[in-house]
Symmetry: C2
């Protein structure tokens, strides 16, 4: 089962608004060709749940064919119904223990944490991994709060025995610092889905990530 | 199990914005004292999912103590995690078959339907009951579409063998017409949660509903 060993690696988060009008399924397919290890469907404010379900079916097929992890943001019901590999919840979303109740013992529950305290609480609530950030300033998620810097990853890894992906403003110039701080992976939004050449951007970021690991 | 026989009757839908600043749990408690048969938590745009979960726990306790049905709007995950009696989904929400997948065979899946076609599709997808409307013009849900009138209930009941609650603009002057059109219950929002005296409003509506049945 996926919880016994998983590699978050280059973790692509979808964003309808940043994809330059290209269909998200096409963007994700290109990111996978470029080496993405995990894909998170995030479309909370942009698509109805009905539309998320349709898109999710397409992403589940793509990721399954490629052996890439597939996670759904916020909606544990959608994650379970689509047979995703997991759900990712933020601090205002479904509490991790309730999310676990829905997705069961075999799927991942990822939790956003900005502080050591939130990380410890997430671990207590049964999180399988943490999304730590925003590492850098980001325009993708205006409500994401103050940038915490890559050193926050180091601080959390020292206290919480869970895999961590950094998130927030990570791109080609910063991914090495995120990995050097101890991250197990890097979540990227605009630097991939907003790139003119998505596949090339993913390939470049993946190479930089692997070199810095 | 609840699906073997349930009475939607006077079906109260919560609304944070219409409750005149009173806590929703207090409003619901008063509506239950006034005779509400079912309560639906609907707070999609007003509360984070984390807040909905906290409020849902309170409403589950209140409704369970009173023997009143408890449903959650849109979020099948929350419905299952709170051990609600069911989930209610709109045409843009989780498809009914996916909702069923999450809530299981023992909980209700209610589906909003404005037309005979939507009602037939909902039945096909496994709906246990229909919310038909908006029966009258409503300010509660600006995106709810054109008023369909109580005669739409009659048309749907003639073709679809499912319990129906009317919804949309139903109050003391119209609840009798909704029941006379063949509804099995009436969903009420502002005429209850926005009433100066919630308990008295619910009691009055319940009496009018029972007299018209």
């Amino acid at each position: 089962m996926v919880r016994n060993g998983f590699n978050l690696g280059l973790y692509v988060v979808t964003d309808e608004r940043l994809s330059l009008g290209r269909p998200t399924a096409e963007v994700v397919a290109a990111a996978i060709r470029g080496g993405a290890d995990a894909v998170q469907l995030r479309a909370k404010d942009d698509l109805s749940v009905r539309e998320q379900a349709a898109l999710g079916r397409a992403l589940r097929a793509l990721t399954r064919a490629a052996g890439v992890l597939f996670l759904v943001n916020d909606r544990a019901d959608l994650a379970a119904a689509l047979d995703a590999d997991g759900v990712h919840v933020g601090q205002d979303d479904l509490p991790a223990d309730l999310a676990r109740h829905i997705v069961g013992p075999d799927r991942l529950v990822g939790v956003s944490a900005a502080t050591v305290e939130e990380a410890l609480a997430a671990r207590e609530a049964g999180a399988d991994y943490l999304g730590v950030g925003p590492i850098y300033g980001t325009l993708t998620k205006p409500d994401a709060g103050e940038a915490v810097g890559p050193e926050r990853i180091t601080a959390i890894k020292a206290r919480v025995p869970l895999p961590v992906v950094g998130i927030g403003g990570i791109g080609r110039d910063t991914i090495a610092a995120v990995m050097a701080a101890g991250a197990d992976g890097a979540a990227v939004v605009s630097a991939i889905v907003g790139a003119a050449d998505v596949e090339a951007a993913a390939r470049d970021l993946k190479a930089r990530m692997l070199a810095a690991r």
